[in-house]
Symmetry: C2
Subunit: 195 residues, 2 copies
């Protein structure tokens, strides 16, 4: 299996940036469905697939989000064509008979709140990363954020459910004139070793 | 920005699979460095970049990993060309003056263990997902796992450090004859809504 070409690696990783300003071009329902139809295939532990996503696009939806946003994330989020709320369902294991049908995987979690919490948060975060890279693969730009009040978002969007918010991700076509300078990354030897 | 072509979307998401058997083709140091040199660019909160990775490739390294592996993950992990231990550094914020130099981001975390733990786990998991998709983008196959004893891995590979293991990911060239049948995914309307 060959590597993707340089243009694809740039679009996914090397020249992709976290965007703060957005061009007026909208994001369609079909594009949101296409993001999900890619990200859903990427791996989670026992196929547990705990991510639950609200794509906030309407003016009314954005106004429900507004009070939870930290000041630095407010204007760009209100202006973004779509803001995805990436959450995870703490009752994810109830779907394991459907998602992992060849064994009783539900029993690995039922009644074990620490395992449930860790598994939902880890795998929901993986799926959030898959969402970011799926959106980029489809030609969209992303602006992920964790600067917001999770409890307020949960009360407004997930009341009465077992879903908890994880992070937010603005989606759209980024305005390159609003980018910040790129921050450095750790060198291989600062972050990795071969054993 | 156009979408990647169908072959690329297949390689990253749609036809990529979690592998259980491995062809004898090795994974080189250059390939491991290339994975990191892609994944490092993908976004983390305040560029905090908490992931710390051990690429276990030697026989000695694999033997140190062996006692921590759950029975179902043992043979395939011992046989894999490389097993990446994806961990996160709970002292990640000490590098923020380097990674996010334009403000005192270290102060957002120092002395706040709950915020540290959540931020390291969320963003380290995002980076683990970036590793999976970077490896696939470079033509490698992945076999991620959370079925192992984290405390044993931490004692063996991260003793005396502030690094904690998150999950493991086998890397190599997968043997397609050892794949399991693919499990179903949730439909868009089971996992997502537009608000």
């Amino acid at each position: 299996m060959p590597a993707l070409d340089d243009a694809a690696l740039d679009q996914l990783f090397r020249t992709a940036r976290t965007h703060n300003g957005w061009l007026p071009q909208p994001v369609t329902d079909d594009e949101l469905r296409a993001i999900y139809d890619l990200m859903k295939w990427a791996p989670t532990s026992a196929n547990c697939s705990p991510a639950r996503i609200v794509f906030v696009r309407t003016r009314e939806g954005k106004e429900r989000l507004r009070p939870a946003l930290s000041p630095g994330n407010l204007d760009k989020t209100m202006a973004a064509p779509v803001t995805a709320i990436i959450g995870h369902d703490l009752a994810f294991y109830e779907k394991l008979p459907q998602l992992f049908p060849h064994t009783d995987a539900r029993a690995w979690f039922a009644g074990k709140p620490a395992v449930i919490e860790t598994t939902a948060f880890r795998n929901g975060s993986l799926q959030g990363a898959y969402l970011i890279l799926a959106a980029r693969a489809l030609g969209l730009d992303c602006g992920p954020m964790s600067g917001f009040d999770n409890a307020m978002v949960d009360a407004e969007f997930f009341a009465g459910t077992s879903i908890r918010s994880n992070f937010l991700c603005n989606l759209g076509h980024g305005d390159p004139t609003k980018l910040f300078g790129r921050s450095p990354r750790l060198a291989f030897d600062e972050a990795c070793r071969i054993a």
